[in-house]
Structures are given as structure tokens and as C-alpha cells.
């Protein structure tokens, strides 16, 4: 059974007599141990979808099932879900990390003792023990975010929703959050992650779903999507220019190379070894397959759709 099953979710809002389509027929699945990056421009419907999954916004149509239970009808579904919501503090700033963990632990159905024990383990694991008695207000943004993630984990939910977990964090804190996301997924929990930092999504996710104007425009395994958008061309980078002789030989193979250039682009992959034979023994700095990154893919997907509509 999938941890999360979202089927045909729809949400419209009324604004000054107009109906605005926020989410239109969104379906998603998430399995245990999987990280799904949910990407889209601002206002595309990411947060609305996440809040519908968490039972905080009622959909017009469609179903949400968290471990088989509908959080809109059965509140016990919320025991299998933890969330760090964007634009929220998520924590009581006047309480310390350990007090927040204990309070939210009880709120999620634990005894105070169990919440304290688990809270302490999480604080140790998140390297926050030295700050356990400092009020959250006085912690750095990165530490606050770590405490918020710890609070989302206190009741050991199977599904974690992370809405922009690295927003506003410095490099070091971002690295820590990335490490935690990997660890949490390795424990067998499913993570639905939204982020504008596409390099992070590329690094962390097993699967990507791109949403635009309320509709999913692509949903694939991250590696598969990158493969699909990558060409099969090779790029060869040399330490020095090729010289006239080699330029002529390469021209015989149909490759037009600038004499001063130290980089070759090879679209016909069958020629690779023939080209390498010509280049021998010139020192090669790098040889790599042309690989798209998630940022290019995202922009292409989003712009493609926009121009299609225009």
C-alpha cells in the first residue's frame, strides 16, 4: 500500500466574483522511503496541495489517503503525518526546543514521558542538546528549522511533508537539512518536499512532480527525467588547442572545430573512439556526456507550457 495516495484533487477559490483554479486534477503517490520533490513556480498550487494532504484545506473534489486513511474524515490519519509548513513558525518561540517537543508530542498522542524521551533522542541526533533549554526565539534560523523538523518527527510518522525546508537557511544549515532529509528517508519514511532550490531537489529526490497552474505537467523518476532531457552528445575538453593537422582530420569526419577552441562537442556518439584516436596523445581534461540538470528541465517544462498556452 502506498503511504500517500492523492487522486484527482481539485480546488478552486472565489476571488471578487472570479473562480480561480488553484489545483486541477492532481494525482500523486508516495511509497515508504521515497523522496518526492514537488516543484512549481510561485502560485502553482504546491502549498494548496500540501495543505489538502494535511487536512488543512478541504478539496472541492478528489481523495487523499494517508496510510489508507482520509485525514478529512478520520483524524487518526494525522498520527501518520508530520509537517513543516512554509510561512509558519511551526514552533512556540517562547518555549525551549525540549518544551516544544514535549508539548507537540502530547498533541500528537504520546505520553509526556515518551515525548520527553523521544525529544531528547531527536535533540541528540540533530546536535541540539546544548541548546535544549534556550528559548526558540533566540536560536538561529537554521536551528529553528532543525527543531521544527524534529517536532514533525516526534510521533514517528510515516509521511513527512516539508514545504520549503531550506528557505532562508545559510549554506551550512542547508547542508544539515539535506543530510536529515536523506536520513529520514533511509529510515523508511516517505517525504514530500517542495523547494525552489532545484539543485537540492535534484540531489535529494527519487522522483519529481512538476506542477504549473494547478496541473501536474511532469511526474517521473528524477534520474529518468534527467535522462530524458539530456542529449546523447559528448563533450571533450582538452588542455591545449588541437592544431591544424588534427583540425583537418576531424573535418574529414565531418566535425568543424575552431582552431583556438579547446572543447569539442560530439553529437554523433559513434564517432567517439575515432575522434579519441585523432586526439591521441593530447592531454584530455574532461570527457562527459551532455547531462541536463533539473533547473534547465524545470524551466523548459514551465516555459513550454506557457508558450503552448500563449
Amino acid at each position: 500500500m502506498a503511504l500517500l495516495q492523492v487522486t484527482h484533487l481539485q480546488k478552486h477559490y472565489g476571488n471578487q466574483g472570479k473562480r480561480i483554479r488553484a489545483v486541477d486534477d492532481v494525482s500523486l503517490n508516495l511509497a515508504a522511503g521515497e523522496v518526492l520533490a514537488f516543484l512549481g513556480p510561485n502560485g502553482a498550487g504546491k502549498t494548496t496541495t500540501i495543505k489538502m494532504i494535511a487536512g488543512l484545506i478541504v478539496p472541492d473534489r478528489g481523495q487523499v489517503a494517508v496510510v489508507g486513511k482520509n485525514p478529512h474524515r478520520d483524524p487518526s490519519a494525522l498520527r501518520s503525518l508530520g509537517a513543516v509548513l512554509e510561512g509558519n513558525r511551526n514552533l512556540y518561540w517562547r518555549l525551549t526546543p525540549e518544551e516544544n517537543l514535549e508539548y507537540f508530542g502530547v498533541l500528537r498522542g504520546l505520553s509526556a514521558r515518551e515525548a520527553r524521551l523521544r525529544g531528547r533522542r531527536l535533540l541528540e541526533r540533530f546536535e541540539l542538546m546544548h541548546k535544549r533549554t534556550t528559548v526558540v526565539q533566540q536560536l538561529s534560523r537554521g536551528m529553528q528549522q532543525k527543531v521544527a523538523i524534529a517536532v514533525a518527527l516526534i510521533h514517528e510518522p510515516q509521511l513527512i511533508l516539508l514545504d520549503e525546508p531550506t528557505l532562508g537557511l545559510d549554506v551550512e544549515a542547508t547542508q544539515t537539512v539535506k543530510r536529515l532529509v536523506r536520513e529520514i528517508a533511509a529510515e523508511g519514511r516517505g517525504i514530500l518536499l517542495t523547494t525552489h532550490q532545484l539543485d537540492i531537489a535534484e540531489e535529494l529526490s527519487d522522483r519529481v512532480a512538476v506542477i504549473r497552474q494547478g496541473q501536474i505537467v511532469a511526474e517521473k523518476q528524477t534520474a529518468e527525467l534527467i535522462q530524458e532531457f539530456s542529449s546523447s552528445a559528448y563533450r571533450i575538453e582538452l588542455e591545449q588547442s588541437i592544431g591544424v593537422d588534427r583540425q583537418a582530420k576531424l573535418a574529414q569526419l565531418g566535425l568543424e572545430i575552431d582552431l583556438s577552441s579547446q572543447t569539442l562537442h560530439l553529437a554523433d556518439t559513434e564517432l567517439l573512439y575515432a575522434v579519441l584516436a585523432i586526439l591521441q596523445p593530447l592531454p584530455i581534461l574532461r570527457i562527459e556526456r551532455d547531462r541536463a540538470n533539473l533547473t534547465d528541465i524545470f524551466l523548459q517544462l514551465v516555459q513550454e507550457q506557457a508558450s503552448g498556452e500563449g
Partner: protein
């Protein structure tokens, strides 16, 4: 049989969970109370000044509700007034401040359900308020040498008034969820509260007397007047009506709050302020 036992075990687990929630809410409120003394001392100072004034017979600061001239009655009148206002504004105030500080949506992620959570929280807040009032009153009694005696029976009608107050508190909470800023409504509501707690509906005759049974908190306030000002005993029938009145308003409040919660989630406006 086994099913019945299972249900019973489930119910006792739920009661235990709710008691744990109460303790957690109490602890949370208490920590915040003592951690920010500037705010707490302000509240303690106001309460102390009012009670000290009352003990010095300056009855005019007792507020509009008085159950006779005796100090005991004046104090009970003031307690009823201040506790009712506290209860009625507490839930709406919590919702607004949590929306502002960005913790409201996390609260709605509880599997207890929002109504249970906010009722338990409001009871925990009231418990802290009562402890505070009790301590201040005790200190003032020792300092002034004037001692109060409350008939223990007044707890029951006070309970019915507070049930009605919680019902109205949930109505205000629901309005606050839907419309966010409701300070003006709360201010106007204090006038309605004044009428409800002071109108001597138990003395009205004919239709007015019957209408009095249906007004929120009014039957319980009438019983308190009988107990404190008229030295009358507690009438079982009247207490049952007051209890029913409190239970009905609490139920109405919880139902309206549930509807407002659903409607706010439908509009997608839960976290906004």
C-alpha cells in the same frame, strides 16, 4: 461482550489521552506565564488592585454585577463577571494570536480534533486563572484580616454559567476563524454579557420568566443571586434547568465552531490573519 469491553478500553484510553493533553496545555500556559514576568505581573497587579479595592469596600470598582452588599457577594459577582469575560474571549484570542505567531496550523494537525484541543486549552487557561485568583485572594485575606466564606453549593451554578460561557467562547472562536479580526465584535459582546449576567430573569413573571430559561448563562446567574444575596438554598429543579441551559449552549457553540472550522478549511483561510 468482547466488543463492549473493547469500546470501554478505547474510551478509557481516550480519557487518559485528554487528561495528558490537559496537563500539557497547563504546563505550556504556566511556563509562558512565568517566563515573561512583565506581562504576567501586569495581570497580577490589575487583579490584586481590584480585589484590594473590593476589600477596602470600594464597591464601585466591582464592575456592574453585585449580588448584594456583603463582601462575599461582591467578590462572587466580580469573579463571575471576570471569569465569564475571560472564558468567552479566550478561544477567539488564542486563535488570533496563534494565527499571528504561525502555530495555528500545527495545532489543527492534532488527531484530538480542534474542538477538543481548544476546549481543553481553555479549561487549562481557566485553571491557571483560578489558581492565580485563589492565591491573590488568600494573600489579601491574610493581609486585611477579613475572611470570606463561600457556600460550597455555588460551585454548581458557577459551573453552569461557565459551560454557557464556553459555548459562547466557541461561537466567538468560530467567528474569529471565519472573519479573523473580531476585536470590535468582542467589545460589543461585553454589553450583551452585562445584560445576560445582570438581568434578574428569576424575578420576571410570565413569558419573560420562560424566556429567561433560554438566555445563555442567565439561569445559573439567577441561582447565584439566590444563593449569595437572598441566602436561599439550591433548588434542584432550577439547577437542572441551569445545567441543561449550559449544556445546550456548550453544544451549540461546539457545533458552530465545527461548522466554522470546516468552512474556513473549505475557503483555505485557516492560517491567514
Amino acid at each position: 461482550m468482547a466488543k463492549g469491553k473493547g469500546m470501554k478500553a478505547k474510551r478509557s484510553t481516550q480519557v487518559l489521552d485528554i487528561f495528558r493533553l490537559f496537563l500539557a496545555e497547563f504546563k505550556r500556559a504556566w511556563i509562558q506565564f512565568k517566563r515573561y514576568p512583565a506581562e504576567s505581573i501586569g495581570g497580577v497587579f490589575i487583579i490584586t488592585s481590584v480585589f484590594y479595592g473590593l476589600f477596602l469596600s470600594a464597591q464601585y470598582i466591582a464592575g456592574p454585577i453585585q449580588f448584594g452588599d456583603k463582601l462575599d457577594s461582591v467578590i462572587v459577582g466580580y469573579l463571575l463577571w471576570s471569569l465569564s469575560i475571560f472564558v468567552i474571549t479566550d478561544i477567539a484570542g488564542t486563535l488570533q494570536s496563534e494565527a499571528q505567531t504561525g502555530t495555528l496550523e500545527q495545532l489543527f494537525l492534532t488527531s484530538f480534533g480542534a474542538r477538543t484541543l481548544f476546549l481543553v486549552r481553555a479549561i487549562a487557561d481557566l485553571a491557571i486563572q483560578l489558581i492565580l485568583l485563589g492565591v491573590i485572594l488568600s494573600i489579601i485575606m491574610v493581609l486585611t484580616g477579613r475572611y470570606l466564606s463561600f457556600p460550597i453549593a455555588l460551585i454548581l451554578p458557577l459551573g453552569t454559567v461557565l459551560m454557557g460561557a464556553y459555548g459562547l467562547g466557541f461561537v466567538m472562536g468560530g467567528i474569529s476563524l471565519l472573519f479573523k479580526r473580531i476585536q470590535q465584535v468582542l467589545a460589543i459582546f461585553q454589553f450583551a454579557l452585562l445584560f445576560l449576567l445582570t438581568a434578574p430573569t428569576e424575578e420576571w413573571s410570565g413569558i419573560g420568566h420562560i424566556v429567561g430559561y433560554f438566555l445563555p448563562m442567565s439561569p445559573g446567574a439567577g441561582l447565584l443571586r439566590n444563593l449569595m444575596a437572598r441566602d436561599a438554598g439550591l433548588n434542584g429543579g432550577a439547577l437542572a434547568i441551569a445545567l441543561l441551559n449550559g449544556a445546550v449552549y456548550l453544544t451549540i457553540g461546539l457545533l458552530l465552531f465545527g461548522w466554522a472550522e470546516r468552512e474556513t478549511k473549505r475557503r483555505g483561510k485557516l492560517g491567514g490573519y
